[in-house]
């Protein structure tokens, strides 16, 4: 594979990894191998879904985050929070409490990401109406899904809706608004509190955009612990009186990051699918057949969408229930014509400005399936893969250090593995006297590390 395509927020700590291969077995894109007793990431295969992070029993996979103190490099320090954040806490914790702790931590402004939905929703519907030629159109909300489509379903890159997510719109708005208030742009730092690794990767190397309007990313679990500790200790916040009055989020905004959050507001026939294996199964089928009349597809990598993000702390089902309740309250207040809820908030005054830069450029396919750029080489390699598959057991045991027999075959033709790594092949060779026991032990040690084969004293 040529070059490195993606920035990854997930990092593997070799010093902590015990080479248990749990991560390799759950990876939906077969991006992990075990070599020398440690997990290794194949960068170009990884889509930052975070399944491995959850599977790791020893915490060897970490989500890289920006140093919190970097916020103090800016005079205006904006915390952009998704509606998921408030829903992490029991209901008695209010948005004002959460914001006041954020202010106490050093932020000067707090703004909810989903205000961007007020602008985005209409642009999405307009886009769907104007692009009748490609169906179904696929949301670019979830960065892990965008990457999954690039690497696994490249024929579907043309179906992606090339609009910025609500996060970027909210960031652009807040930055512009502060500039209009007379702040210098270099004094403004916009920090996103993220529920997942994929969003970090998308900020650090955005797909279809030159650069991101977001200055830095802070992990939600870090913020959750800070806020919840303060709440538990009875902190009210000495900055409470200076709190900006937060715009009330409409019900559509509250629910946007949950499953069906987008689909519920798109015209035509829509489907909302969450959890990456479900998405893969569906896209596999979608690639084969003519579209069944679906106009819009909402696809999310995590189960229960962002409520199931790897950096969340609360159980995802409770989170969604709290979001629903909040949305219902917002709906009720809007129906009661509570003027703050009827008013869509100051962001819509910037609609024209935001719509000017709402488009992203075409998302490039980056197929990971291709065996070679050159078709005659690829043909040779494909033949070889086919021959190798005849020798392999189709058990997908992972003892060779590759997740599946087919991954081992592909690794072999790419010169990254050897057929003798297969335990079945070794046993056959041993049986035929072609491989001494010492050699098979050495092979296993090379994959799984020496320690696992040391004879331990059990006295």
């Amino acid at each position: 594979m040529d070059g490195k395509y993606f920035h990854h927020a997930l990092k593997f700590r070799k010093d902590v990894c015990i080479g248990c291969s749990h991560c390799m077995n759950v990876c939906p894109t077969q991006a992990i191998r075990i070599r020398g007793g440690k997990a290794e990431l194949k960068d170009n295969f990884c889509v930052d879904c975070g399944k491995c992070y959850r599977a790791c029993p020893v915490g060897a996979i970490i989500v890289e985050q920006d140093d919190f103190n970097q916020i103090f490099r800016y005079k205006q320090r904006v915390a952009l929070i998704p509606s998921i954040l408030l829903a992490q806490f029991p209901e008695e914790v209010s948005l004002t409490q959460v914001s006041s702790v954020l202010m106490e931590l050093g932020f000067t402004h707090v703004y909810e990401v989903e205000h961007g939905v007020e602008v985005l929703k209409d642009s999405m519907n307009k886009h769907i109406g104007e692009h009748k030629e490609s169906r179904p159109l696929i949301s670019t909300f979830c960065p892990a899904i965008v990457r999954l489509i690039q690497v696994r379903f490249p024929t579907l890159t043309d179906n992606l809706i090339l609009l910025k997510p609500a996060l970027d719109i909210a960031a652009s708005y807040y930055s512009k608004m502060l500039q209009d208030q007379g702040h210098e742009s270099e004094d403004i730092g916009i920090f996103y509190i993220t529920p997942c690794a994929a969003k970090i990767a998308a900020v650090k190397s955005p797909v279809g955009q030159e650069d991101s309007p977001i200055t830095g990313v802070i992990n939600m679990d870090f913020i959750f612990n800070k806020v919840y500790t303060a709440v538990k200790q009875g902190f009210i916040g000495k900055n409470t009186c200076q709190l900006p009055s937060l715009d009330p989020l409409k019900a559509s905004g509250v629910m946007w990051p949950a499953t069906s959050g987008e689909a519920a507001h798109m015209a035509g026939r829509t489907l909302a699918i969450d959890e990456i294996s479900n998405v893969i199964e569906f896209l596999e089928q979608l690639e084969n057949e003519e579209n069944q009349g679906i106009d819009f597809l909402e696809l999310r990598a995590c189960d229960e969408s962002c409520a199931g993000g790897i950096l969340t702390s609360s159980n995802r089902f409770y989170t969604v229930e709290r979001m629903r309740k909040r949305a219902a309250r917002a709906d009720r207040k809007e129906k009661e014509r509570n003027y703050r809820y009827v008013n869509p908030g100051p962001i819509v005054k910037y609609r024209e400005y935001l719509e000017e830069s709402i488009f992203i450029s075409k998302v490039q396919p980056r197929s990971m399936d291709k065996l070679d750029e050159d078709i005659s080489q690829a043909m040779k390699k494909m033949k070889r893969v086919h021959e190798l598959m005849e020798l392999l057991p189709y058990v997908d045991c992972g003892i060779c250090g590759s997740p599946k027999c087919s991954s081992l075959a592909e690794d072999i033709v790419q010169g990254e593995a050897e057929i003798i790594q297969c335990i079945y092949v070794q046993r056959r060779m041993e049986h035929q006297g072609e491989m001494p026991a010492k050699q098979s032990l050495e092979i296993m040690q090379k994959i799984w590390g020496r320690e696992k084969f040391e004879i331990k004293d059990n006295d």
Binding site: P154, T155, E284, Q285, E287, N288, E289, E290, Q292, P365, S367, D369, K370, L371, D372, E373, D374, I375, S376, A378, M379, K381, M382, K383, V385, H386
Partner: protein
């Protein structure tokens, strides 16, 4: 490279397996994505046709550096009038099949639209052979 896949008549739950396998191989060969798309749509359509109309069938797939030839041979009722079956809107699918979303009468014309070359021959009471050929050379505007 030669591959073969079996198709079971009347079993829609397995329909699409061969198309997925062929798709995977085309991706491995780094074939232009537009060609992958057309190949898969035509093959899937043909595969579903066999499931919908025939008792059983076999798909023979041959890849070389220039093209892939996908030949679907079925044992089934055959098509009495191929020319008529090639016209848009014509369907012999039973109403049960149509209710499942298959057999909307787009079969052969849609295959013809997507395939670089399509050959259909049939013998009533014996079966039908459909041959789809796709060429790999990249479209001119890609060079």
């Amino acid at each position: 490279m030669h591959f073969e896949y079996q198709i079971e008549g009347g079993n829609f739950t397995r329909a699409g397996f061969a198309s997925s396998e062929i798709k995977k191989k085309l991706k491995q060969l780094n074939v232009d994505l537009g060609i992958v798309k057309r190949t898969v749509v035509a093959t899937y359509e043909a595969e579903v046709n066999v499931v919908a109309h025939a008792y059983s069938g076999t798909i023979y797939v041959d890849f070389d550096e220039e093209k892939v030839v996908i030949k679907l041979v079925d044992e089934g009722p055959g098509i009495p009038d191929i020319e008529k079956a090639m016209t848009e809107g014509f369907s012999t699918a039973s109403s049960t099949v149509r209710e499942m979303g298959f057999g909307a009468g787009m079969g052969l014309p849609n295959m013809k639209k997507n395939a670089d070359d399509l050959q259909v021959s049939s013998e009533v009471g014996k079966g039908t052979t459909v041959q789809i050929t796709m060429f790999f050379q990249k479209p001119d505007n890609d060079k």
